[in-house]
Symmetry: C2
Subunit: 367 residues, 2 copies
Amino acid sequence: MQPESRSTALSGRIVISIDAMGGDRGPVAVIGGLAEAAGRNPDVEFILHGPEEELTRLLAKRPEVAARCTIRHAAGVVTMEDKPGQVMRHGEGTSMWSAIESVRNREATAAVSCGNTGALMALSVIRLRKLPGVNRPAIACLWPSRNPGGFNLMLDVGADIKADAPDLLQFALMGTSYARNGLGLARPRIGLLNVGTEEHKGRAELKAAHELIAGATELGQFDYVGFVEGGDLPSDRVDVIVTDGFTGNVALKTGEGTARLVGDFLREAFNAGLLSRFGGLLALGALERLQQRIDPRRVNGGVFLGLNGTVVKSHGSADATGVAAAIDLAFRLAKSGFQERLAARVASVAQARQDAAEGGTTNGTSE
Amino acid sequence: MQPESRSTALSGRIVISIDAMGGDRGPVAVIGGLAEAAGRNPDVEFILHGPEEELTRLLAKRPEVAARCTIRHAAGVVTMEDKPGQVMRHGEGTSMWSAIESVRNREATAAVSCGNTGALMALSVIRLRKLPGVNRPAIACLWPSRNPGGFNLMLDVGADIKADAPDLLQFALMGTSYARNGLGLARPRIGLLNVGTEEHKGRAELKAAHELIAGATELGQFDYVGFVEGGDLPSDRVDVIVTDGFTGNVALKTGEGTARLVGDFLREAFNAGLLSRFGGLLALGALERLQQRIDPRRVNGGVFLGLNGTVVKSHGSADATGVAAAIDLAFRLAKSGFQERLAARVASVAQARQDAAEGGTTNGTSE
């Protein structure tokens, strides 16, 4: 345990635990993100984990952030190259471990880190433990979409590399909680990712999951649109896309890579020739609007679901704006009481399934 | 067997067998595609399969196409809703079946169809049969990329829903043949799609495939760059991306969906406000160049690999330009002797693996 360098944050506010280290751009970008997020959310406070001397020096230049921060000293840093197993055994004393510890001991409602995803998931699972009834935790990410809110949700995008049918049902339930509390959708529409929308297609576990999810809509308080395909990820006929972590991770990175490719081609096209450049200049507002809608920093923040506590993974390469988006998300979820609602939803469906298996009747309460 | 309505195409030219029916836009779009492709390739001839009366009427308006076409009557049509199993049992007499038959009996070097993918694959497998040494056929597609040629290759994008390690090795070999003969790359760089580039990540079959592919580079005449991620699909550090058909299909459709989303957002952005519209007008050339680089019609044509004959699947919604791109691809592959080279490459590596398993020495000839 590291010594506290200040008292715990004041009560009555939402406290977010921040791993200051481990991102590609170091603690300067993280503290820049705290400043942006603090400016938008007057009710937020931070516990900032990392080397005390360095953080104190950096915060001295940002008195408005320092006033909302408690520094918690942690000398070690988890690098992007560290293997999850090593970090689990030897990670105590790192800023990442310390950041999770603040959620574990309930000083903070949620943690945010830009560090190594595998290590962060491994530490989160061993320190926070899985929620009762959850077999596999999942990482959920936002996806630019044609829906009015501008985003769809997809999970799992990489907590694990597989998922069987009951896992996929749990992802549907956890995604429902996130969509209700994070996106404000009262009754989210769930889709199950497959290679075709016909029921005879796809893997056996997907057919089983199809039945399970279709049978849980009332108790889980969601709608089920059935199978969806890769082209439906930005679609307005679905809000939450459920898949295993291998497929979800490939899809996420494929989508990001494609958007980046189109963006690069667009820039090249506008730089080829005087007329195009002049046109691009006049249309600068349009291009900026486009940039905003597909800016990956706006959708920054993979949320770890299924643990006793909320952990938000920011992109390793996130700048201040990206870090701020991840903090905003953690704050919004923390404020909504998302963690408790998710636990209750998973538990109620697990109970109903157990009752059904034991021959009891399913009690479809929908509060 | 359907009666021939004309004599077989003249010798000395490349004959492509065309399924005129089954696409969303009907035979008019297909015949438009024949016209475009015939204009570009003076050495191509077609056998056109479908209802004779209708095709004769349509071709009467296109004498320049009619001169290069033999009509082969087939009254039946495979619809997008037909299940592959039904088509396998009752598909004789359809234009799709007939189009494959022309490749089977060596009247044509390759077949092109815009119809139902599952049915086309099922018919291709039962009528053409798998190449000796091939366990799972694969569908390969082109992907816009940062490479000088403008395209990368990915397989399998949906022939099957799984692939084990030896299948993935075969995909690497078949992808190599396609890249050499279709894209003109003497020694293509192969990557294996995974959720991370580190060797300790991913599923067990991927680790086994990693070893197999790394051990076959000399005999297979390719380079191996190791694991790649979804973001690398358009990358210039790889030419051929190998994956199972489930993951590849999700990635393909995710990429297409993302490009479409960005394109729609771009149009909306340019239509919002007079200045943007004027700028967009001036930059029309730039926008058209962009459109061309990401136009899905240019990369139209999934090639079925691993069968005794080449079959190219065009998008169901392809217009004349899309159909023409698929025909160009079939023509290029047919002209290069791709089919025989692919068979030889797969056979030589299968033989070497068998020799090694039997304790013989691997004879790494590289002609």
